[in-house]
């Protein structure tokens, strides 16, 4: 099933030409400080859209507005044609809007597999008998000693299918065999990937990624780029905040540039690279963003 072919959305949205995300004239201020001023942008399905800007430009605040963690003072956010401006975060997620965080927000005392499983199960009802029955006899490894092979073997013996789906998702992001690692004991780069897998677990149509490349080495960054392009090719819309300009310029179809809460440029990577306003915002000079991390 394509990410945009989903029964949760009105039928006219599935496979249509509507933008996955439309941010219209959004403003946010904290006390007297304006974090976002009349920000508008559009993210199309099947594309990777970059959102770049210097530190403090308002990128994370915009992500918070889109995902529902921050109410805007003014403006609107539409997910396809649904106005989600005042919608609670969990309802947006159920529509298919997933995100990761600049600073890791993993379920630290759960395993990597369980982090993904929580996402996968997000639409299930907790009182469903099948889950209780499963829980009665299963060692799911969640609170077993991390890396304890006995616990993993016990799980495999008791319920080999228990973690099949989380395993599959973890494998998809390059974390094969790491389902039983406790999340708060994982190196930062791997933990970021678990967060991405958890986001993918809810079956998103729009994926907001807040600096997923930080903490990754060159090879991991390359793999991340490949993965995001592949996800976009399935019809998913990806909005990417990233300081790794090489990655952004390589994979993004379109880029929005924020500076001091304003969108100062929008365009293709080539257009952004040569935009004088962007160059000034980044370096205060005529140097182009890109090639730096």
């Amino acid at each position: 099933m394509s990410p945009v072919d989903d029964p949760r959305l009105p039928s006219e949205l599935n496979g249509g030409d509507l933008p996955a995300l439309t941010v219209s004239q959004v403003s946010v201020s904290f006390g007297g400080v304006s974090a976002l001023t009349n920000v508008s942008l559009v993210v199309a399905p099947g594309t990777v859209t970059g959102l770049i800007g210097p530190n403090g430009a308002g990128k994370t605040t915009l992500f918070n507005v889109i995902s529902g963690l921050q109410e805007p003072d003014r403006g609107a956010v539409h997910f396809f044609d649904i106005d989600v401006t005042m919608m609670k975060p969990y309802r947006r997620a159920r529509l298919g809007l997933a995100r990761t965080f600049q600073l890791l927000e993993l379920f630290g005392t759960l395993t990597a597999g369980e982090n993904v499983q929580v996402g996968l199960e997000s639409t299930l009802k907790w009182w469903q008998w099948s889950h209780l029955r499963k829980a009665l006899w299963r060692t799911n490894g969640s609170e077993s000693a991390p890396g304890d092979p006995t616990a993993v073997d016990a799980l495999a013996a008791s319920d080999p299918l228990a973690m099949t789906t989380p395993d599959r998702l973890l494998a998809e992001v390059g974390l094969e065999g790491m389902a039983y690692e406790q999340a708060n004991a994982m190196p930062t780069g791997l933990a970021r990937t678990v967060e991405l897998a958890r986001g993918l677990a809810i079956g998103p149509k729009l994926l907001l990624l807040d600096e997923p490349g930080s903490g990754l080495d060159e090879a991991e960054s390359q793999a991340l780029g490949t993965l995001l392009v592949r996800l976009a090719s399935t019809g998913m819309a990806v909005l990417l905040v990233e300081h790794d300009m090489e990655l952004v310029m390589r994979i993004c179809d379109r880029i929005h540039v924020l500076d001091f809460g304003h969108v100062i440029a929008t365009g293709s990577p080539e257009a952004i690279r040569s935009d004088p306003a962007v160059q000034t915002a980044y370096l205060g000079t005529g140097s182009a963003p890109g090639g730096t991390r």
Partner: protein, 647 residues
Amino acid sequence: MTSFLQYTIFGIILGAGFAIAATGLVVTYTTAGVFNFAHGAVGMIAAFSYWELVANHHVPAVLALVIILLVGAPIAGALVERVLMRRLHGATAERPIMVTLGLLVILTGVATIVWSPKSQYQLNPIVSGSFRLVSINLQYQQVLTIGIAVALVIGLRFLFSSTRTGVGLRAVVDDPALLAMSGASPDAMSQYGWILGFVMAALAGVLLALTQEQTGISIVAMTLLVVNGYAAAIVGRLKNISVTFIAAIVIGLLEDYIIYYALPHLSQSLNSDITLALPMVFLFIALVMLPSVRLRAVGRLSTVRVPRMPSGKESVLGGAAFLVLAVIASVVLSSVVVRGTNLLNLGGEVMALGIVGLSLVLLTGYSGQVSLCQFSFMGIGAFLMGKVAGGGSLLGLLAAALVCAVLGALVALPTLRLRALYFALATFAFADAVDQGFFQDSRVFGGGINVGRIILPGLSFGGDRSEFLLLSVFFVLVALLVLTIRRSLFGRRLVAMSDSPAAYATVGLNLAATKVAVFAIAAAMAGVAGGLYATVNGTVGSADFGFFSGIIFVLFVTVWSIRTVSGAFLAAVTYVVLTTFWSTGLGLVAGAGIILIGRAASGILGIDRLSTLLPLPWVRRGSAAGGSGTLAGIGTTSIGGEARVAG
């Protein structure tokens, strides 16, 4: 009209005392980032110390004040910061709550030993004499209280906004490392904050005690009187001193009007109950009126060490083994009486209280919601058990579960949108309001209500042995239920919600629904426990479910391990043994235990190295960060910088 004016002036005077207490709380919170639950107890100790010096040792009042405010309180504040609080940097959110609660029960415990509750403690004004203002007789003492409150508010505003020290005091909470880079010592700033907070608590305690010249002072009343300041501090959002001051005056006025206008129309017993419950009612209302907290990413992973989770088969086998041991114990203990106490009945109490402990494992251990009102639900369960179907009926247990579940949901609903500290405060307020306003009412428990043993068709549990075994079975069943929940989808959600509420919401899960559900389930468990507890000795009274007892029990569960069934059981054993054989030391042991545990979130059962328990300055900070006394240095490449601990 004259009486209205009189009540208004007295209300302002009362409010001025609350204002001093409240601004002290705000100072501690602003400068140390900690809500000091022991603030009222510090005030109470100061008030009794003042009585001790002035009334008992005939020290001049002013000299006594100097000793308390300029020597005793600062030293105590500095010591608490240095020995207790400094170890908690970077610990999980509930740690400071637990440690200050520990301090609260220690101080009240010490006070009970030193100043017998049976004696009368009367105080005379510091400044004698009075004058008339618009036909109202005002004492100079009362004017002094108002003057001190106003001067303090003005002085504190100046300190925090216009002095380098004040800015440093505020900055230490925001970013200690950044403060250190600017040349100031974060530790010293934090210590100044605690000293200031203690001095203000002591001042409030003494001034409020002087308003009680007619009734005299008592340990519980003095501790709770300062709690009036909690509500004002909450209205000021724990940061705005001016709003806090105004709120305190309004609360003082409201309390005075209610006492003089509304309460005389109520019965004598209800009158007294409501007077004592008023501070908590104000606190609860203040909390409910707070705006919703915004979900925000905190960017700090939970580093709590996770105990090994037994599989379903292991749980069932463990439960069976426990029951075998219970059978053996029932034979061995069947006729053992120690100091007039039947040990089998004590065992029954342990099982019932163990179920309350299990409710805390579910609620606090798994889902991270700090609840201080499980004993309230337990008491309500016991009451229903005694009243429904003649007592001792399974219908009583059912009623206890259902009523407590509904009550739990009702308590959770208005407060679940608040962050952990406020949620804990709401349960604190609810617990005391239920205790003072319901349990203490002579029409509820009176001298104790009779509850028969449970009767099932064809089965009699009238004997102590069968009763003990029945309660053991209940404990095992509830333990299995809790473990099953933890392994289920719902259990994963509880832990996920505790670890990161922001991430929880953004994967499509409803925080509010989960919080209400878990609170209702835990309340129902505590209600059932209360019902069972009531059947053990055949009679229960309000003393079994007291406000302070509830807090002490939470501390014991935390000390042993609030994440495990074993922790719940051992806490119940400790509580019952101490209550029976050394009740005076109950609070002292619980408080000392929680202070020794410090930041070790996994409790005694999760500790590898006992030396990390010692609250000694030279025990290296960070050696037990968040996850208990695990070996430092291992797993330094991990996110939390924490050890991965093998089970």
